[in-house]
């Protein structure tokens, strides 16, 4: 599958007006996001995530390295025409209506504004009731939804979203997640930067962890969260707890047990012993960490 985004050895330093290096925002980042995937970029504050996104879209010029956006340089307007972007804090024209704002975005994207398409976009983001209202009266969540609608104008191939659910209530987050899942199903590539790790975990199939300008972890979510040699086993009600503990199982919540087994024969042998002791296996899965733990592990060693 071709890459929607390819970044090679990206460096960015911020300098004072006198040329002194004040901050190293990106320090040799390499990244490839395959087309049609949902990629989540996470990391602590000041890790360089927003600078990275700005370099992807030619808002910020890197000191060194290359960026390929849908096969072309981001400086080329034709490459950016196929991208939808939601910045972290989108400033919206308060005196305009959402319809007028989206029509302006369409014109700037070189698309003739189609009123019915724009109405349907507003409907998709849950703003159907507010199409005629001025933006200045919108709540933070409504502004965020409108920003998302603006990013979706023209059905872009790549969506770059910086904190897409910031300020949105829990039900709204579910709606946005469903909307982004629909975009993914349409074939769009998602690049999401979010502090809400649970959101990222639910939506993204690949994760990158940025810390102090370096990509310290990157890969499929499943691999990053997997805990090698640890298995989660669920036994039917009435399993003999004392015997299971004696056999090396550790309790892990109601009905759940954790088992350390270096390979498949060892795992099966342990399960056979448990079954012989009267425990009935009802579920078995590889134990995994949540993204918070993965992030803490990736970031902590360097601190």
């Amino acid at each position: 599958m071709p890459a929607a985004l390819e970044v090679t050895d990206l460096h960015k330093r911020f300098r004072s007006p006198l040329g002194r290096v004040e901050a190293v925002a990106l320090d040799g980042v390499d990244l490839e996001v395959p087309a049609g995937e949902a990629f989540g970029l996470i990391g602590p504050n000041g890790a360089g995530k927003t600078t990275f996104i700005k370099c992807l879209l030619a808002i910020c010029a890197p000191d060194a390295g290359t960026v390929s956006l849908l096969g072309g340089p981001p400086e080329r307007a034709a490459s950016r025409a196929r991208v939808g972007y939601l910045p972290e804090r989108l400033a919206l024209p308060g005196a305009w209506t959402p319809r007028a704002f989206l029509a302006s975005v369409a014109r700037l994207k070189g698309i003739p504004p189609d009123p019915s398409a724009l109405e349907s976009l507003l409907d998709r983001v849950g703003l159907a009731e507010a199409t005629g209202r001025r933006i200045r009266g919108f709540s933070k969540g409504m502004r965020q939804r409108l920003g998302l609608a603006a990013a979706l104008v023209g059905s872009p191939e790549l969506l770059v979203l910086d904190e897409p659910t910031d300020g949105v209530d829990p039900l709204g987050r579910v709606e946005i997640r469903n909307l982004l899942a629909a975009e993914l199903a349409r074939g769009a590539t998602l690049f999401i930067n979010s502090h809400l790790l649970s959101e990222t975990e639910r939506l993204c199939t690949r994760i990158g962890i940025l810390d102090r300008g370096k990509l310290v972890r990157s890969g499929p979510l499943e691999l990053l969260t997997r805990v090698e040699r640890r298995w989660r086993v669920a036994f039917a009600e009435g399993a003999p707890s004392a015997e299971l503990v004696a056999l090396g199982f550790e309790p892990d919540g109601p009905g759940g047990w954790l088992l350390v087994a270096p390979d498949a024969p060892a795992l099966n042998a342990a399960l056979d012993r448990a079954r012989a002791a009267g425990a009935l296996v009802v579920a078995l899965e590889r134990a995994s960490k949540d993204l918070e733990e993965v992030l803490a592990e990736a970031v902590e060693p360097a601190r």
């Binding site: 808002i59 010029a61 307007a77 972007y85 804090r89 989108l90």
Partner: protein, 277 residues
């Protein structure tokens, strides 16, 4: 063309600003006041009497077109200087607003080139200036033409000259906003250019009163670059009152002002293309 879309957005933004609404209301009220309260009695092509609110203004009988010259001249000065100062204050925020965090990033991620954003913003403000100047001058021409039968297009040309002068001032304001995103500093830059433009008008007289040295050289260099706005205002007044101009003087002034505007915009564009947001 994306530049047109940027211009349209700026005009839409301006329409929502109270400054411009106030200007439109004030100009309309002034023109209505003149329309309803100014009585001009024209007999056989001569202005026999002028009354404002019923009080006579002039007593001597003169040809109507000659009698109206001072009126057009004063009106052109009001449009020129009033428009320039109003424009500096009312348009100071357009550049900083364009560059505001959260807006500029969004615009730059769209398939719009940086120079298109810059040019669109500049031309949008110029369209506002031309529109305001033509509305004021055109309204005056219609009111006075309707009352006296003297129809002239020169005040309109004079208004265009005022708008062009403001274009030079605004180019400097926009360039400053690219260095420091501040409406106050942008307005201050506009005022400084207006002030320097006045000094440039009288640069020879002023230089004659200066000692030779670095101060004089600096003054000479700076005032040689800035359009002589006082001279532009004089020419605008002469045009509005159909007075003759020295051959080539208007063309020289126009070319000089355009060159200043283009040079400042080029510097602004250079800065914009290399700026990180």
């Amino acid at each position: 063309m994306k530049v047109l879309a940027v211009i349209a957005d700026l005009l839409r933004e301006a329409a929502a600003r109270r400054w411009f609404l106030a200007l439109a209301i004030a100009l309309t009220a002034l023109l209505l006041l003149l329309l309803t309260s100014l009585r001009l009695e024209v007999v056989d092509g001569a202005l026999a009497a002028t009354r404002l609110f019923g009080e006579p203004m002039f007593h001597d009988i003169r040809p109507a077109d000659v009698a109206l010259r001072p009126v057009f001249q004063v009106a052109s000065q009001v449009v020129f200087w009033g428009g320039l100062l109003f424009g500096v204050l009312a348009c100071a925020d357009f550049g900083p607003a364009l560059l505001s965090p959260g807006r500029i990033e969004f615009l730059m991620a769209l398939p719009v080139r940086r120079w298109e954003l810059l040019l669109g913003t500049f031309l949008g403000v110029l369209v506002l200036a031309v529109g305001g100047a033509l509305y004021a001058a055109g309204g005056l021409v219609l009111v006075l033409g309707g009352k006296t039968g003297v129809w002239t297009g020169w005040p309109l040309l004079s208004a265009l000259l005022a708008a062009l002068s403001f274009g030079a001032v605004y180019a400097a304001m926009l360039a400053m906003a690219l260095w420091v995103r501040s409406a106050a500093l942008s307005a201050a830059t506009g005022m400084v250019v207006v002030g320097l433009g006045l000094l440039a008008t009288h640069r020879r007289t002023l230089m004659a009163a200066m000692e030779n040295g670095p101060g004089r050289a600096l003054f000479a260099a700076v005032t040689a670059l800035v359009p002589p706005l006082g001279r532009m205002a004089q020419v605008a007044g002469a045009l509005a009152s159909s007075a003759p101009l020295a051959p080539g003087s208007l063309l020289r002034l126009l070319l000089g002002t355009l060159a200043f505007t283009a040079a400042v915009l080029a510097v602004a564009g250079y800065r914009f293309e290399r700026k990180d947001f």
